[in-house]
């Protein structure tokens, strides 16, 4: 977890990551809208959505199984006016997409976040199902063909997406170290103590949900801009929520870099598994095995494990006195 003291090191690592990414971007930029650049954009939109998931799932500890709802709202806010032929500037639509998915998150925080844990998990999954079936079966929402967005310069969209991904990662880094981010972590680690200091648990969770949903909505809107063809299958499907969630989990939720690494790794793995097992749905076998192996061997995810190895090699002599007061929580909610 990123605390205030280990800030410099994480910052340096982030800088290296950004430079590498920038070089990568420049390398592919020369070649226009190809398979590679489309793949990179796909990864980037999942990284953005995963960072949005991470604000709530990682820092507050409420698992959302329906992050695709916010992703889909973002992309459909861009797509629907275009589909109906309204002449609204696209940048405005993108901002609107982020804002509307944030507002929707604020709306659903009341029923779902009041009781800890499972109502939120199942409720968000249910919202995913509701939105998917509504958008899949309603002809007014272009269910039969999907929406085509034409007239977008894909090079500019490409640069914007990469830049927003990097900016979002930096934003999460600063958020995690701000007072708000620390209150998120307090709610996650010790709700009773947090409540005693004067943190309103429900409001803090709702704030995290709204911030995360806004980020995911922005990701969806930008994805719609680049991919230029939006159907419910690429926005509201449960598989999209799963990809967002699994990427963050494998990378290490509750860290800044985790969703970046995890998202890239997971989307790449998925593509690789699809090329290995070509039967429809069969690629899930490799993904499932990977998930089991990752969770059984490195419980916190790939990135924290790498950091731990790194730390062990460099400074083995430090005594371990990290253990805080071991307060037992009564499981009164369950």
């Amino acid at each position: 977890m990123t605390g205030r003291k280990s800030g410099l090191k994480t910052w340096q690592i982030m800088l290296i990551g950004i430079i590498t990414l920038a070089l990568y971007v420049l390398y592919y930029f020369a070649s226009g809208k190809t398979y590679n650049s489309t793949f990179l954009v796909y990864i980037c939109s999942f990284i953005m959505a995963g960072e949005g998931w991470n604000v709530l799932g990682g820092y507050v500890g409420e698992i959302s199984f329906g992050q695709a709802v916010f992703f889909g709202i973002g992309s459909y806010v861009v797509a629907l006016p275009v589909g109906y032929g309204f002449n609204i500037p696209l940048w405005l639509l993108i901002i609107l997409g982020a804002v509307i998915s944030g507002l929707f998150a604020w709306l659903i925080s009341y029923p779902l976040l009041r009781v800890k844990g499972f109502p939120f998990l199942i409720g968000t999954f249910g919202l995913g199902i509701i939105f998917y079936s509504v958008f899949k079966n309603n002809k007014a929402l272009f269910s039969n063909k999907g929406v085509f967005i034409r007239g977008v310069n894909s090079d500019i969209a490409y640069i914007v997406i990469i830049a927003v991904t990097i900016l979002m990662t930096i934003f999460v880094y600063y958020l995690a170290n701000s007072d708000l981010g620390l209150s998120f972590q307090a709610v996650r680690d010790m709700p009773e103590a947090a409540e005693m200091i004067g943190i309103n648990i429900y409001k803090t969770k709702a704030k995290a949900l709204v911030i995360g949903a806004t980020m995911t909505g922005l990701a969806g809107a930008l994805y719609a801009l680049y991919s230029a063809h939006i159907t419910p299958n690429v926005t509201f499907d449960a598989a999209i929520s799963n990809d967002i969630l699994l990427g963050s989990y494998i990378g290490g939720c509750g860290t800044v870099i985790g969703p970046v690494i995890g998202g890239a790794l997971f989307i790449w793995m998925q593509e690789w598994a699809r090329s290995v097992i070509t039967i429809t749905g069969g690629h899930n076998l490799l993904l499932g095995i990977m998930l089991i192996v990752v969770m059984m061997t490195m419980r916190e995810g790939v990135w924290p494990t790498i950091l731990k190895l790194f730390k062990k090699k460099n400074q083995p002599a430090k005594p371990e006195n990290k253990k805080g007061p071991d307060l037992k929580q009564p499981d009164s909610e369950v």
Binding site: P111, G126, N137, G281, L285, L287, I289
Partner: protein, 302 residues
């Protein structure tokens, strides 16, 4: 829309609701009692359904005989899953890694099971054509399929049996002891790990029963496993966590909602309607439908 059709769809909903009720029961057993969290059981039910299908198509075995054969197999499967995959997370605090880890590992297992179904049976819909599938009992204008009656009977019998098991047998007493206070249970000489594994095995057997019933009521597709998992969880939450009967009643109510929606309104929105009802219920009563029955009804609303 007439009254007979509505009654018919309500009765049909009770029949399909048994699958959700049984899955809810199995989740309520492991989660409500021992705080083991799993998203695997829907896929286990799907596996059971496919095994029943394979046994009927290739060996000619009746699904109910297959069900009895599957019970011990799934029991040991569940026992193994708990003692290999879920046990490492049991010593963590519930929300500090335990649930997250268990959700992810069981999800990975479920994904693998689903993928195996895809590889072996392919993604096309399969139907289990037993000769008595379309037999009905007529009550005036209303017809009730025999399978629905059998499914309801099995569900109620299992609920009764589980209650008896938890209240009368020594295993039930051990499970209840672990659910109230794991530490004291350990002190009195109860092997908590073993109790957890046995309970998980029992819940896996219930999932197998749900799967066989599911295979008799609808068409099979590997993608159903994941949906069934969440419908089972939905039953647990609608029926109040920690109140085992509630999961069964909520599962039956969900079946009725689904079937009435597809009769009165749009069939494609029937599953979505369940979740709409869930969200609406959570607005008014955050602990579910039977909120004042939590903890066995002894303590009123914590």
């Amino acid at each position: 829309m007439n009254i007979v059709g509505l009654l018919q769809s309500i009765l049909g909903g009770l029949g399909t609701g048994t699958v959700y009720a049984l899955l809810g029961l199995s989740f309520a057993l492991i989660f409500g009692r021992l705080q083991i969290c799993s998203v695997l059981h829907g896929d286990l039910a799907g596996l059971g359904a496919y095994l029943a299908y394979a046994a009927f198509t290739f060996l000619g075995l009746d699904p109910f005989i297959t069900m009895i054969i599957l019970l011990p197999i799934f029991y040991f499967l569940g026992y193994g899953v708990q003692s290999v995959f879920m046990k490492p997370f049991m010593k963590l605090d519930t929300w500090k890694g335990r649930y997250q880890g268990q959700v992810m590992v069981s999800w990975g297992l479920g994904m693998s099971v689903m993928a195996l179904e895809y590889i072996i049976f392919s993604g096309t819909y399969k139907t289990l054509n037993v000769p008595y599938r379309n037999n009905v009992i007529r009550l005036g204008a209303i017809t009730i399929p025999i399978l629905h009656i059998v499914a309801l009977a099995i569900t109620l019998l299992l609920l009764f049996g589980m209650n008896m098991l938890l209240k009368k047998t020594s295993l039930g007493i051990e499970i209840r002891a672990c659910s109230t206070d794991t530490f004291t249970a350990k002190l009195t000489g109860i092997n908590v790990d073993k109790v957890c594994a046995v309970t998980f095995g029992l819940s896996a057997s219930i999932a197998a029963i749900a799967g066989v019933i599911f295979s008799l009521l609808t068409q099979l597709s590997p993608a159903h496993g994941f949906e069934l998992t969440f419908l089972g969880w939905c039953a647990v939450i609608l029926g109040t966590m920690g109140y085992m009967e509630g999961a069964v009643w909520a599962g039956l109510i969900m079946g009725v909602i689904e079937s009435v929606t597809s009769y009165v309104w749009i069939p494609a929105l029937s599953t979505a309607m369940i979740y709409i009802v869930l969200v609406l219920v959570l607005v008014f009563s955050p602990y579910g439908l039977f909120a004042n029955m939590r903890n066995g009804g002894r303590r009123k609303k914590a």
